[in-house]
Symmetry: C2
Subunit: 211 residues, 2 copies
């Protein structure tokens, strides 16, 4: 079976958001060209990606049924099967992620939080109990959790990552600005703010030069 590219995969959530907006405005049908225009994308790519994801497909004149396409993309992205995750590091960023209401919609559920700071463990500012990091292996194993989120400072990120892998975690979402070393059978997605900022900053320089 053909595979979808990472770039295409990353665009699907924005299609889904636009489709939901259409649905809320009682729009029932949409064409791939319309989606491409609205999201400033190449219409050929959008058509290909929707053909890949949608079994029902679009009709020549009316396009795709909005409701159907929402279901198909959600299901393709696994938003219907809730995936459990644990998070290690309940500082400011960790708390923000724990309190983020949007994850439910994406099929992610944070089932346990860990931090080695005893003060944080006892305050439980985040509605969810915060456990000592030593309890992670047992909990991850018992609850069969496969996703680990790392929001600790850089200097302890690798250690946390190793402990996650030992515990049975298979996919790591890393918010620490550190290059993690992991075996090839582990999925890693780095949320690199420095990289984003580098791109934005260069674009800004170009804009200011041209003014």
């Amino acid at each position: 079976m053909e595979e979808i590219s990472k770039e295409s995969l990353q665009r699907l959530p924005s299609y889904l958001r636009y489709l939901k907006q259409l649905h809320e405005s009682n729009v029932t049908h949409v064409s791939s060209t319309n989606i491409a225009e609205r999201l400033y994308l190449n219409p050929v790519s959008v058509r290909k990606e929707l053909a890949f994801v949608s079994v029902a497909g679009g009709k020549p004149k009316t396009g795709f049924k909005v409701v159907e396409l929402i279901k198909e993309i959600s299901s393709f992205l696994g938003y219907n099967n809730v995936k459990d995750a644990v998070i290690v590091g309940v500082g400011k960023l960790g708390s923000a992620l724990i309190g983020y209401k949007g994850f439910d919609a994406y099929g992610l559920k944070i089932v346990a939080c860990f931090d080695n700071n005893k003060a944080i463990q006892s305050t439980q500012s985040s509605d969810k109990p915060v456990f000592d990091i030593h309890k992670m292996p047992d909990l991850v194993n018992r609850l069969n959790v496969k996703i680990g989120i790392i929001t600790v400072p850089s200097n302890s990120a690798q250690e946390v990552c190793d402990l996650m892998i030992e515990s049975g975690i298979k996919a790591i979402w890393n918010f620490s600005p550190t290059q993690l070393v992991t075996p090839s059978n582990i999925a890693v997605k780095n949320e690199d703010m420095a990289a984003s900022l580098a791109v934005l900053s260069k674009q800004l320089d170009k804009i200011l030069e041209n003014e």
Copy 2:
């Protein structure tokens, strides 16, 4: 002049982090091959990117001087010229970004925070004063700020974006899960958690299938 690709630009901060680790361990020289191996990258790409960024260049046997390369990449990424930014939306994510110590190292300084919630304005939980959103145009103009960070809920993101552009902001770092509509002379970088999660989730599926 040739341009550096967005992908290359996004990799430079990770080179910089590795180089700083080497420097802390008193390593004085490094080859592009070594960097490529350590960061699991294509050695040809790394060699090209370093050739693009480094004026001093690497020597055939000893490679690059670590200290020199740190300076060159930092300067290329504009980390030496501090850039001022304003942030709108002082909820959990906004507070996390405001409290994030790492931005200094990347040349970003948040000079003013805005929120339309009067309770947040008066608590000032974040060390920095939080102003009413109506004060943004004047402040942005007076301080000559060009970067705006959006951390408001989706339904008010476009409105905030429009107000930022009217105020003179040229680069928008958007953390709201919304597709912003902006003129072509405005730089936008979306921090799309849903897109990241989609990629991680698909990778995890593949790993679990192969087990």
